[in-house]
Every structure is written in C-alpha cells, then in structure tokens.
C-alpha cells in the first residue's frame, strides 16, 4: 500500500504501533526487574498510548495498587500525546484483579498482549485472571 493512501490517523496509529513494540522489545531485554507481561490498551485514545507492564521484582508490597504515571515524548519515544505507563509486580496485578481495580475494565475491553509472544505459563495465568485470551 502506498503511504499516500494512508489517512493521517492511520499513519499515527501505525507509528504508535511501531514505537510501542520497539519500547517493549527494549524492556524485554532488561535483566534487572525482568518484564513478565506487556499489554497495550485504550486504543480509543488516538493521541495517547496506554501500556501495562508487569515486572518481576517491581518495588512495593503485594497489595499495592499498580502505579500509573505519565510521560511526554522523548527522543527515543517520539509521540504526539502522553504515554500512560502502568507498572505492577505479578503479585500487585493479582491483587488488582482480586479487588477489581478500575483499570481492569480498560484492559479487558481492548487489551492486546505485546509480550511475551507466545505467552508463557506466568503470563497465561495472569491473562486468565484478567479475562484476556492467551
């Protein structure tokens, strides 16, 4: 397909798809606090990117709610809007599932697993709790 035929909105979506996958691929290579699961969601937000990363050894107690923080564009992550990054340890995500935290509705609506592909046993277990297909 020629790039001229792609609508501006679609071009942005393609760019976002590329930069998010590259970001997750970089994070998947981290040895310290290894990435367990990455889910992109809230695709209805055209300008912003929403990503959940579950990280082994993420600080805080097992009952802590997942931490959501916002980032602006950076040279390595060029986007138009804001990047909403939600971070949790596997235990914190399980607790969030147990509490039916607000974020779960967004994850279940349109969440797509970016890592690991294919999901391993830990990821499958968490996805099952989230009600998302492995």
């Amino acid at each position: 397909m020629s790039s001229q035929r792609i609508a501006p909105g679609d071009r942005l979506a393609l760019h976002y798809e590329k930069v998010v996958r590259e970001l997750v691929a970089r994070h998947a290579k981290m040895h310290e606090e290894p990435l367990v699961l990455a889910i992109r969601f809230r695709f209805d937000d055209a300008e912003d990117i929403h990503l959940l990363e579950v990280i082994e050894g993420f600080p805080g107690g097992g009952d802590d709610p997942p931490l959501t923080t916002e980032f602006g564009p950076t040279p390595e992550f060029p986007i138009l809007g804001r990047f909403h990054l939600t971070l949790a340890s596997p235990a914190q995500l399980r607790s969030a599932i147990g509490r039916s935290d607000e974020i779960l509705a967004d994850l279940r609506r349109d969440g797509i697993v970016l890592f690991p592909q294919p999901p391993d046993s830990t990821a499958k277990q968490l996805l099952s709790g989230l009600g998302l297909p492995a």
Binding site: L23, R26, H27, M30, E32, E33, I55, F58, P59, G60, D64, P65, L67, T68, T69, E70, F71, G72, T74, P75, E76, F77, F83, L85, L87
Partner: protein, 206 residues
C-alpha cells in the same frame, strides 16, 4: 520545559533538602529528644527526602508523579531504563546515583517506613527486614505488646511507646553511637546523597 514544571519540581526538591537537613540535625539528638526517639524519625525523614527528590525529578522530566503512592522508588524502574527520559544525558547520572546497591538501600528505607509503628511492622515482616543485621536486639515482649495495643486502638505511627529496661534497645534505636549496620550505612549514603543538591537539579539548567 515550562516554568510551571520547574517551579513545581523546585518546590519538591527544596522540601527534600529541608527534610534531609532536619534528619541530619536529629542525628545529634537535640533536647529534649532521647536516644530512642531518634532512629525512626531520621529514617522517616530520609524516606521523605528521597521520595521528594525522586518526585521532583519526575516533574523535571515532565512526567506526573502519583500523589497516592509514597513508594517513589517505583519511578526508578522507568527512569533508569532511559528511553523515557526527556534529557537523555541524565541517564548515566541517574544510573550512577542509583546503582543496584543504592536502589536496594532505598527500597529498604521505604520498607522501614511503612506508616505503622516499627514494632508492629517488624513483628509482621521480620525476615524481610533482616533483623539480625539491624544492629539492635529484638524485643518480642515489646513488639507483641505494641501489636496488641496498636490493633485495638489504632494508634498513630509515632504514638507507640512501651516501658523498657534501661539496658534494652528499642526497634527505633538507630542513634549515631549504635553499631554500624545496614541502617547506619543507609543514613550515611542518604546524607552523602544530599550533600550536593545540584546533582538532583542539573536538568534545571538546560
């Protein structure tokens, strides 16, 4: 960067410096404080200083720190990865400042300041805190007594006190004269961390 971000970050970083100065002053046990009063308050102020420093940097990075979480060490995970840093040349500085040993100390500091009386927390989490290396002895009687009273009356974190023998050391005792251990090292590192506040505010000059 907007002036609003700089002003907001400056407020956090200034308060962090005040907390660190106060913690340092408390180490000298000013009147009318007693030895046992010092440790938990110094640790608490060190935790406050670290939290506000990191959140101040988060703001300089034009990110939004959560007011709901005091575990500012959680921000270190995305910041140290580097790809979300607005100023890429800060990456090496941050990695040097928060090397694995410092991150472990910061994590331990936040674990030590959980928002409940220390005796209660240590009773719940003895293995996590590595009590045998704390440089003081546990007092099972004191801890269980605090736990019972705290759970009944919902005491504040600093409201717990219990009779003790003159020769005993309380879970709060991290006085300068106590045996150097991980907690003493932590405070020393925290003090050196804030010896040069400009390190944390370098991004302001850009």
């Amino acid at each position: 960067m907007t002036d609003g971000h700089i002003h907001a970050a400056a407020a956090w970083l200034s308060q962090a410096e005040r907390d660190a100065r106060t913690a340092t002053a408390l180490l000298d046990q000013p009147t009318p404080m007693k030895t046992d009063d010092v440790g938990c308050h110094v640790a608490s102020l060190c935790a406050q200083a670290v939290e506000k420093s990191i959140k101040g940097y988060v703001l300089l990075n034009r990110s939004a720190p959560s007011h709901r979480s005091h575990r500012a060490d959680k921000y270190l995970t995305p910041l140290l990865r580097g790809d979300l840093l607005r100023y890429g040349d800060n990456r090496r500085k941050l990695a040097g400042l928060f090397d694995p040993s410092m991150r472990a100390l910061v994590r331990r500091l936040f674990d030590l300041t959980p928002g409940v009386p220390w005796g209660v927390w240590m009773c719940r989490r003895p293995s996590t805190l590595g009590l045998t290396n704390m440089g003081h002895r546990r007092q099972p009687e004191l801890i269980s007594s605090q736990t019972r009273r705290g759970s009944r009356s919902g005491q504040s974190r600093r409201g717990a006190s219990a009779p003790k023998s003159p020769s005993s050391s309380s879970p709060c005792d991290v006085s300068p004269s106590s045996e150097p251990g991980p907690t003493g090292a932590l405070i020393s590192r925290a003090r050196s961390l804030y010896a040069s506040p400009s390190r944390a505010t370098g991004a302001c000059k850009r």
